[in-house]
C-alpha cells in the first residue's frame, strides 16, 4: 500500500488535464459549480466502487472477456448512482441528464480497471480510485469555478461580483471548448517547464 497511489491523480497524472480522459462530461457539467460537484462525486463513487470490484474479482475474470466483465461491474455502480441522484436530488439529476448513465463509457473507469485495478491489490486499487476520482473532481471544480464566475458572475449560484457584466459565452458550449484548450495548453507548458528544469 503506497500513499503515492492516492496523490498521483491530483496533479502529476490528472485524468482530465494530463491524460485527457473523460472530456465529454467535464465540458457538459462544468457550466455551474453545483453540477460540477455532483458529477465529481458521482465519478469518485463509481471509480472507487468499480476499482475495488474489479480488483476483488481479478483472479476470477477470464482474460478473453475481461472488458465485458469490467463494463458489467462499472454499470452496476453507475446504476446505483443514477437511481440515488434521481431519488434524492431530482433537479441535479435532470440537469446532468444522460451524462450520469454515460459514466459507463467514460474512459477513466475502463482505463483504471484495465491498467491498474486488474493487476493490483484491493487496497492499492481503492487508493487509486479515490485519487483518480478526486483528481477528476478537482479538474471539474477548476473549470466550473472559472466558467461560472466569468459566465455568470456567481459561485454555487450566489452572485459574488456585483456590477460585473457576465461573458455569457463562457457558460455556453464554445466557452467550454476554449477554456479546456487553454487549460490543456497551460498544463502542457508546466510539464515542459519542469522537464526543461531537470
Amino acid at each position: 500500500m503506497k500513499i503515492g497511489e492516492l496523490t498521483k491523480g491530483f496533479f502529476r497524472e490528472n485524468p482530465l488535464f494530463v491524460i485527457v480522459l473523460g472530456v465529454c462530461p467535464s465540458l457538459a457539467t462544468s457550466g455551474s459549480l453545483q453540477t460540477a460537484l455532483a458529477m465529481g462525486a458521482a465519478v469518485i463513487f463509481v471509480c472507487v466502487g468499480s476499482n475495488v470490484g474489479v480488483s476483488l474479482l481479478r483472479k476470477v475474470i477470464p482474460g478473453g472477456v475481461r472488458i465485458a466483465c469490467f463494463i458489467v461491474v462499472i454499470s452496476t455502480f453507475v446504476t446505483i448512482t443514477d437511481l440515488f441522484l434521481k431519488a434524492y436530488f431530482p433537479d441535479i439529476s435532470r440537469t446532468i441528464g444522460i451524462f450520469i448513465p454515460l459514466i459507463v463509457v467514460n474512459c477513466i473507469m475502463l482505463g483504471r480497471a484495465e491498467a491498474f485495478a486488474c493487476k493490483n491489490t484491493v487496497m492499492d486499487s481503492l487508493l487509486d480510485g479515490i485519487g483518480m476520482g478526486c483528481g477528476y473532481t478537482l479538474a471539474l471544480l477548476l473549470m466550473g469555478t472559472i466558467r461560472e464566475l466569468s459566465g455568470n458572475g456567481s459561485l454555487f449560484g450566489v452572485k459574488v461580483l456585483p456590477g460585473y457584466n457576465p461573458m455569457t459565452v463562457m457558460i455556453s458550449p464554445p466557452g467550454a471548448f476554449l477554456l479546456l484548450g487553454l487549460l490543456l495548453g497551460f498544463f502542457k507548458w508546466m510539464q515542459l517547464r519542469k522537464a526543461a528544469a531537470r
Partner: protein, 215 residues
C-alpha cells in the same frame, strides 16, 4: 408518421444540437481521429452506421422488454405483477444498452472480417473504438427517455441515430480540414496538438451557435 417532426430531428441533429459541438458527445474520437481527412471520414461512416443500427436495436429492446407493461414482461410475469407494472428500465437500461451495443459492434466486426475483407481493412480499426464512443450510448438513451410522452417512435429513433452520426461526420470532416492546415503553422510548443484542437473546436462551436433558434 409526422414529417414535420422528422424534418426537425434531421436539421436539429445536423446543426442545432450537433452531438459534438452542442451536446459534448464523442469528443475522444473527435480529437483522436481528426488528424487526417481519410481517418475522419472512415470513423464518421462507421459511427453513423453503428448509431443507426444501435438506435433500432435499443429502441426495440426498450419497447418490448424494458418498459413498464412491455409485452415480454407481461407474457412472462403477468400484467398484474410488480415487474410488469414498474418495468426494468430504471435498473437495467444502462447495462442492457451497453452490452447490446458491444455485442453488435463485435458481430459487425466478425461479419466484415469474414465476408467483406476490403471494407474491414478500411473500417476495421475504427470499429472496436466505437463501443466506448459515448455518441452511440448517448443517442440510445436520448431516444428512449423514461417519460413515455417524450418517447420517440421507432422510425424517428433510427433517423435521429443516422443524422446524429452524419452530424458527427460533418464536424469531423470540417475539423480534419482545419487540423491539416494547423500542422503547418509555427505554434508555441505547449499549444501543439490537443490544446489548439480544442480552441479550434470552440471557435467552430461559436459558429454553430448561430443555428440556435432554427428549430
Amino acid at each position: 408518421m409526422n414529417l414535420e417532426r422528422i424534418f426537425l430531428i434531421v436539421i436539429g441533429n445536423l446543426f442545432v444540437t450537433n452531438f459534438v459541438l452542442a451536446r459534448f458527445l464523442g469528443l475522444c474520437p473527435f480529437v483522436g481521429c481528426s488528424k487526417r481527412t481519410s481517418d475522419a471520414f472512415g470513423m464518421g461512416v462507421a459511427v453513423t452506421f453503428v448509431m443507426a443500427m444501435a438506435s433500432l436495436l435499443t429502441h426495440t429492446i426498450d419497447t418490448y422488454v424494458l418498459r413498464p407493461q412491455a409485452p415480454l414482461l407481461v407474457l412472462l410475469a403477468g400484467a398484474e405483477s410488480q415487474v410488469a407494472r414498474d418495468g426494468l428500465q430504471a435498473v437495467l437500461r444502462t447495462l442492457v444498452y451497453i452490452l447490446t451495443i458491444a455485442s453488435f459492434v463485435q458481430l459487425v466486426e466478425m461479419f466484415l472480417k469474414k465476408n467483406v475483407p476490403a471494407l474491414y481493412r478500411a473500417l476495421g480499426i475504427y470499429l472496436p473504438l466505437i463501443t466506448t464512443n459515448c455518441t452511440v450510448l448517448g443517442v440510445a438513451l436520448l431516444n428512449t427517455p423514461e417519460d413515455p410522452a417524450e418517447m420517440l417512435t421507432l422510425v424517428e429513433a433510427v433517423i435521429q441515430g443516422m443524422f446524429a452520426g452524419l452530424g458527427f461526420t460533418l464536424v469531423m470532416l470540417l475539423m480534419s480540414g482545419i487540423r491539416e492546415r494547423i500542422e503547418q503553422l509555427a505554434l508555441p510548443e505547449p499549444m501543439r496538438g490537443m490544446p489548439i484542437a480544442f480552441v479550434c473546436t470552440g471557435l467552430m462551436a461559436l459558429a454553430f451557435l448561430g443555428f440556435t433558434g432554427m428549430v
